[in-house]
Symmetry: C2
DNA sequence: AGACTTATCTACCACTCGTTATAAAAGTTG
DNA sequence: CAACTTTTATAACGAGTGGTAGATAAGTCT
């Protein structure tokens, strides 16, 4: 269909490997040598396909967003605000301790702070973290309209709280917290939703 | 008293400058050039005083721990578990948005994930984060003995929850969340303490 | 087949990294 | 003052950084 020599590697598989390196070492800590070795390609192929180290991260983040969007679709389908919150935190407890991935969250460990010349990476990660918070916010606004959340509830504060706990869970998961510990954090966090029903 | 040429810089002042660089750029992102420039000294002086880049971080972390211990003394002096939790999260909301420092928490931004050769930095930061969680745990165990927490309360889970929220607040603060946003997160988080009294 | 297009490889670029040898500078002690 | 001790600045080290020419390989097109 398209002219020229076909690429000899699977773009998505290579991105998965790059994602894991960024995940485990952060943007600054991930060297081109690490990345090319993990991806099984040489530097010129990487640059031809992704433009730069930063472009590679962006492509990996896009792929990461695909996984997250599946989770979020399930989360937002919760019947009540409380149910949404429970699904959100529970799925994070699972995903952040999935042995198939590095522990924690790529959007947290990828780079909260970076060196000179990479100042926009933390900003980029933050804006991607904000996406799910915005989705939660929309769902909570609807929940309030449904009478599912009390009149004095603050959807923005609830969404921000959950997003903050999620980031915190990313931090402790990266430090070795196990799945049971994350579930416990999720359980305690749901106490903040006590006003909208408790089990 | 001591022989030899006296050092021409203030060790603590230099450490404060180094702390800020690590805080803002993380361990990997903080280069020796940045550090020596901020500290106002040349590399050999740095190495004579702190041994290595890692040694400099450790010294900065020790100094950071001094600030934190003041906060924790105030926090642990709270009358009730709920009061302790409120003091803990409130003081974090303030300190993580103190314009005198980079936003967020050095123990979070310093390096959740590092490159090859720095694998122990994330571990070191995690163990320092664990210290305050342990202090909270001790206080909550005492609170339970005092009858201040209900029989079915889980001190370890509560301490871990607060520690996780604190880390999450560090993440969002580093991304620009303002003081009011952090206070809101603190307020919602305290809802998780609803079982032990609500205002 | 031959022209064309794109990917891959080897080798290398200039630069920065953390770290250190060397020697001069600045103080204390006899 | 001279001997001694420690810190300072200059300058460089080897290794590794992200990134790239230039040539070659592997396909599709006419």
């Amino acid at each position: 269909m398209v002219m020229g020599r076909p690429r000899s590697f699977d773009r998505d598989k290579a991105l998965d490997e790059a994602m894991e390196v960024f995940w485990r070492h952060g943007y600054d800590g991930a060297s081109l040598a690490m990345l090319t070795k993990a991806m099984g390609i040489k530097a010129p192929s990487l640059y031809a396909a992704f433009g730069s180290k930063e472009g590679l991260l962006m492509a990996a983040l896009d792929r990461y967003a695909l996984r997250r969007s599946e989770h979020m679709r399930y989360v937002l389908a919760g019947a009540t605000a409380r149910d949404v919150a429970e699904r959100f935190l529970s799925s994070i407890a699972e995903s952040h301790t999935d042995p198939a991935n590095p522990p924690g969250c790529l959007l947290v460990q990828g780079g909260l702070a970076c060196g000179a010349g990479s100042e926009n990476i933390p900003f980029e990660l933050a804006s991607r973290r904000a996406e799910s918070e915005t989705e939660l916010l929309g769902r909570f606004i609807q929940a309030k309209a449904d009478g599912d959340l009390p009149e004095d509830a603050d959807p923005a504060a609830l969404a921000r709280f959950l997003s903050t706990v999620a980031s915190g869970m990313g931090v402790i998961a990266s430090s070795g917290a196990n799945r049971e510990a994350l579930r416990e954090v999720a359980r305690v966090s749901l106490g903040a939703f006590a006003r909208s029903g408790r089990d």
